[in-house]
Amino acid sequence: MDELMGDFIAETRETMEAIAGEIVAWEADPADRARLDAIFRFVHTVKGSCGFLNLTRLGRLAHAAEDALADVRDGRRPADAALVTAVLGIVDRIGALVDAIDRGEGLPDAEDHRLVAALDRRAPAPAPVAAPPPAARAPARSIRVSVDLLDRMMAGVSDLVLARNELARRFRDEDEAALERLTCTIGELREMITRTRMARVDSLFAALPRLVRDLSAELGRQVTLSIDGGEVELDREMIEMIRDPLTHIVRNAIDHGIEPAAERIARGKPAAGTLALAARQSGNQILIEVSDDGAGIDTARLVAKAVAAGLVDAGEAARLTPACAAGLIFRPGLSTAEAVTEVSGRGVGMDVVRANVERIGGSVALDNRPGEGVRLTLRMPMTLTIIPALTVSAGGQCFALPRSAIEEIVRADGPAVSVEQVGGATIATVRGVRQAVVDLAGLLALEAGPAPLLVLVRPAGGARFALAVATVLDHEDLVVKPAAPAVMATGLYAGVTLPDDNRPMLLLDPPGLAIAAGIATVDLAGPAADPAPEPVATMPALLFVALDGAERAVPLPLVERIEDVAADAVRTIRGRLRLAHGGRVIPLVADAALPGEGSLRVLHLSDGTAHLALAVAHVADIVALPLPCGDGIAVLDGRPVELVDVPALIAAAALPPPQQRPLVLLADAGDGWMEMMLRPMLEAAGYCLAPPGASPGDADVVIAAEGQLQQAAPGALVRLRAANEATEGHEDSVWRYDGAGLLAALAARTGGR
């Protein structure tokens, strides 16, 4: 409500500033129709907003002025000086009241009555009023910006990203700190602009108390409304698009759901029904739940109606599960209301609600408990413009798929998966569940090629199918733009996106693919039949089988991409694995010995700062992993799955800082023998070698040949001897080929560091 009020105040002030000139001009020429219209529009708008915001005083003033001006517009009354003065008085008063509301103060209302009375055509002409002195106004905390401008700002930031990428390519070998800062700044900028598009769900819920009050009065019901989660934020456009569906749902709940008080008492329920609205964020989705404790949906009657209307045949009806039967309310042309009322029950309703929500990439789930009530859950992506997507390739071209429609990715030759040809149709059986296979390259008439991966897709409201693709490239948040009508007319694409490589990529439309493939069946159950998931806290995670054969998971947001790299790009450096990749060397973590040749599958992990490659045997799935209960172990489908502790891996993979490694000075006889023979062994053992010519005093330990550096302190000296047998007086010396002895002596001198 506060936000609506803020919008109203900002808008009213803005219009008042804009029409200030009109008012003066109108005063000079009361016959000027254009000026009159501008002022009429202003008071009309104020009146409308006041009705909505329940500002009766302002509304009364605006209403009086509007009536008088309407008379002038219709020629029933001349615009004389008295009228102009009275209208001006009211406009000024509106300004003063708006300022007072903003400051949270009150104004005496005697003045209002005098101003309204002055509008009366029989009133004596009042003295012309001077504009009131500008009141001290709280500084504006918000401004109104057009969505178009925000879109252009977003486009500007996208350009910046592209320019940055180009710079990064050119300065690949230069100091990267400045580029990193640029990347960070652009990232923050992008996030902020995205946030400017967001508004609180409050602004969607604000109109409901009034609606519920009016409806319950009209229908003779007692309804208690509870609203929760108004602070959740949602894209402004999205809010506008679900305003009508939400109103429909609330009307339905009161009209069809909540019973009259007498009936409720007879059933042992409290006389007043409860209608609860709750919004919450779940990952990239916003959930809005509307639940009531009314009668629930009478599925028997609903099915009977569906049969009567010819929507389902009797045999089909008999096989419907209760959840599927309740889902029939989403079918067009069905209404359970016995009588068509003013409020709802015209047979347009839930089908339209579902269509509207699905059009913005959301879904509606229904949980019907006959006799106890109904819960509807609307799930929507957080913004219209940025959607989490999976990029896949088929027939040599890359495409994006909305991740909301993807259930699982499996290999066609994987365990528990079988693909069979039956009478020309291809059917995949995944863990006992069969679905049609759609070959993406074939469907799009692209060059045929192997398609070893099956992406299991469930389009909104349709049956699941398996989309066969050549590779799964990445998952990322993509900025989606509408495509040209000729592209949309194919029915296969939902939009177009511009990834960082600046090659446009088409976003596939899963329901459209199903239709084009001829496998679209009306799924009677639809998403509504899915039991409402228990609100278990989960996190999206990538499930993989590690090299040691164990199943582990890693938080999905940390996974940058999955890639096969050549095994010979891996080196062991100072006891840690390093992967040479794309001109950089990044730490690699492996649970078991790596293959010496061939290729290696790695997950690129990044928290934005540190990068790490994790060697895996294969990637199993993307899952919603219940949050680990402790020790980093989560329980998934009854089996324990270890959640990889990425920060610990990053720390463990880091090279020991050089300054903490003991510095060893080689003082040989000047023949280079030590340099040649000892340096590799010492470095592999974690020692740091002092540059030639360094002073013995700087080194932690000195390795000296016989006859060199007689003066060095014995505590920091290891003396090598040429002979196997120690000579007398030099028992602590080490034979120069005794590697183990040398390392032991070094460890003793450096305190085992």
Binding site: S158, D159, L162, G395, K481, P485, L498, R503, P504
Partner: protein, 137 residues
């Protein structure tokens, strides 16, 4: 009125300069599988995505002989940006007179897309309606 003069299949075509955003050279295109035949693909122009229309295919002409440089005219129609391929860019010139209705019968290829003739540079040029070209035949 300023016009951009281009050639398509040897025909002089005039486009009102006010309707033309820019002239570009076509770069790597993303094809649109199962799109209409005259939809050549998508191309990025800074952060915008252009829908590239093969003008010759749009009016039912055979494809142009392949050449290294492929140029296109960028226009905006109903909020979407398009690049219309042309065989050659000729000139930007002030029209000698107002556009006139087409007298006579146009060849089938041009009938659907030309809406006037414009005297420019001492000869008549056919003025085409970008929206009709984009719609194809």
């Amino acid at each position: 009125m300023l016009h951009l003069i281009v050639a398509i299949d040897g025909q002089r075509i005039a486009l009102p300069a006010a309707a033309v955003e820019s002239v570009i050279e076509l770069d790597a295109l993303t094809p649109v599988p199962r799109g209409p035949a005259h939809l050549l693909g998508l191309m990025a122009l800074r952060s915008r995505v252009l829908t590239v229309i093969d003008s010759r295919a749009a009016i039912g002409l055979p494809p142009a002989p392949p050449s290294e440089r492929r140029e296109a005219v960028v226009v905006e129609v109903e909020g979407a940006a398009y690049a219309l391929t042309v065989d050659a860019l000729d000139d930007v010139a002030e029209a000698d007179g107002p556009p006139e209705p087409v007298r006579g019968t146009l060849a089938a290829a041009w009938a659907g897309v030309a809406d006037a003739v414009v005297p420019v540079g001492g000869a008549l040029a056919l003025r085409i309606n970008p929206a009709a070209l984009i719609a194809g035949r």
